[in-house]
């Protein structure tokens, strides 16, 4: 069998990648394997990366087209002000250029993320300790506020007053944390 990359040398490495039940047979020679770097079963480079395969199999591109069609503005012309990646380029490469891209292309992302992540669009996992300080605080404040409402409903005014003070001091902390966050 001849190598499917160079079509010259005999294929010495044979892989089968199975993703979502679909098999993809790969037969390549030593040299191309070296060049491609897919020596073992790691995420290979270029054409063989698991992410690329996923993107291919999940058929992201038509989805992006659909995402574009569903938004009224000319999203193609959207351009990230930080890294200058356009939406068109994002669709083509399948990768973001920087953190700001998430903001820039926000309105078109949900269908893509849903497709890739089993219908999910929002993070529910880890919050980083330092950067997330203010996120933690805000969550704490939210929880306390709902407790406060419950206390008021039950006419536990003394306890409610204590809780109100607690909320105020957390809010102050939140502002301070935000200021710190802006000056790393």
């Amino acid at each position: 069998m001849v190598c499917q990359e160079c079509n010259q040398r005999p294929a010495t490495l044979h892989f089968t990648k199975i993703i979502n039940g679909e098999k993809k047979e790969i037969h390549i020679c030593d040299k191309c394997a070296n060049e491609k770097g897919d020596l073992f079963m790691q995420n290979g480079s270029n054409g063989f990366s698991i992410n690329n395969l996923l993107a291919g199999l999940l058929n992201i591109e038509p989805f992006l087209q659909q995402a574009k069609a569903s938004t009224l503005t000319h999203v193609d012309e959207l351009k990230c002000k930080n890294c200058h990646l356009t939406f068109k380029e994002f669709v083509h490469v399948g990768k973001f250029g920087c953190a700001t891209c998430y903001e820039t292309f926000k309105d078109s992302l949900d269908p893509i993320l849903k497709r890739v992540h089993g219908g999910n669009t929002a993070h529910v996992g880890k919050i980083p300790e330092r950067l997330g300080e203010s996120i933690h605080l805000r969550k704490q404040i939210k929880d306390l506020k709902s407790e406060l409402r419950a206390l008021i409903d039950q006419e536990e005014f003394e306890q409610a007053a204590l809780m109100r003070d607690q909320i105020r001091s957390l809010e102050k902390e939140d502002i301070a944390a935000k200021e710190r966050g802006n000056q790393p």
Binding site: F15, T16, A99, G118, A122
Partner: protein, 358 residues
């Protein structure tokens, strides 16, 4: 590098330890994809920015700052020879991507190589933790420790709604890729693997074999990992994968029991033939070596072979790859020369193992 030296070296490595269910689960791996807030992603950044990322890593994660986590050595890929890079790939310490394509790529390695932080790969960094056997939660805890440490020094790209922001949409959210490498000869021999793989895929997990034909991956080694990184917590991702893996372990064990019951002599024959090949071959291709190593590993698990440690087989899986062989030989080898070298290395290592146990 002598073989003795390598074997010695291997003893301090994480993969020489036998974790829970290590007879079936060779390793558990956690990878966390993280990016730095103030830099463009590797997708589009230029050489200068890549260098800045590397300099930042050296400054913030260098030896002077590792008190909280333990020593890490930094290896800049451009300063390594191509064989050395290949060996890092074969040990699963870095990805082929990082070895070949990266600008200012680097990796930070812990002493026993359980921690590897890849720099300037597809994302700015990827924190990898590998442990023996099925211990995904432990690996996650360890990876989190390093993640927290990095986060104390460098600002991550993070968004309240989307989580850890990544260049690839398939990584966003937790940035977590959890995977286990399993040795499943029982399921392959009984052909149950053909039903199991589609079932696993349906659960949103990805199954891959090492270079093999269809479901009969060479060496009967399969890697199973999560696909979804967004909308599930790290704990849930790891627990879901663990529970699937536990079910596969149970099925593999019952397949082995059934094989011993129904075809004991055929199984023993297969194991000893493969041992015979490993002990005597003068030329052996990597594919045949992997098959024989798998058979002998199974033979050790089933108690047929008593004078060879299982860890020797795990070691041979790594040692017989092209990069290692060439490193051991001290230079590049043609494929045919490799096959000769591979055969002699296997014989030497098995001799050594039998002397150790005599």
């Amino acid at each position: 590098m002598t073989l003795d030296h390598f074997a010695q070296n291997a003893k301090s490595s994480w993969w020489n330890e036998a974790g829970p269910d290590a007879d079936i689960v060779r390793s558990s791996r956690i990878r966390l994809a993280r990016n730095f807030r103030d830099f463009r992603f590797p997708t589009i950044y230029n050489k200068e920015e890549a260098n800045k990322v590397m300099e930042l890593v050296k400054e913030k994660l260098g030896k002077q700052n590792t008190d909280a986590v333990g020593n890490l050595d930094i290896f800049e890929l451009e300063k390594l020879e191509s064989l050395e890079r290949q060996v890092l790939v074969e040990k699963h310490l870095i990805s082929p991507n990082l070895a070949e394509d990266s600008l200012y790529g680097a990796c930070l390695l812990s002493e026993n190589e359980d921690i590897s932080i890849m720099v300037n790969e597809e994302e700015h960094i990827r924190i990898q933790c590998m442990v023996s056997g099925l211990q995904l939660t432990e690996a996650l805890d360890l990876a989190n420790k390093y993640d927290d440490w990095v986060e104390q020094q460098i600002d991550y790209a993070y968004d309240e709604e989307r989580g850890y922001l990544t260049s690839c949409p398939t990584n966003v959210g937790t940035g977590l890729r959890a995977s286990v490498m399993m040795h499943l000869p029982g399921l392959v021999l009984t052909r149950q693997i053909n039903q199991i793989i589609p079932a696993i895929n349906q659960l949103g997990l990805v199954v891959r074999g090492i270079y093999g034909e269809g479901s009969s991956a060479v060496g009967n080694i399969f890697q199973i990992s999560n696909q979804i990184t967004l909308g599930k917590s790290e704990r849930d991702i790891v627990e879901d994968l663990t529970s699937v893996v536990q079910q596969i372990i149970a099925q593999e064990r019952s397949a082995r029991e059934a094989l011993v019951k129904t075809s004991h002599i055929q199984l023993e024959d297969r194991v000893y033939r493969s041992l015979g090949v490993l002990l005597n071959a003068r030329i052996i291709e990597s594919k045949e070596a992997a098959t024989c190593i798998s058979d002998v590993s199974l033979g050790i698990d089933l108690g047929y072979i008593k004078n060879i440690e299982k860890s020797v087989m795990n070691e041979l899986m790594i040692l017989t790859q092209p990069g290692f062989l060439q490193k051991y030989a001290g230079g590049p080898l043609q494929p045919y020369e490799r096959d000769v070298r591979r055969a002699s290395l296997i014989r030497e290592r098995l001799d050594l193992a039998q002397i150790e146990n005599s």
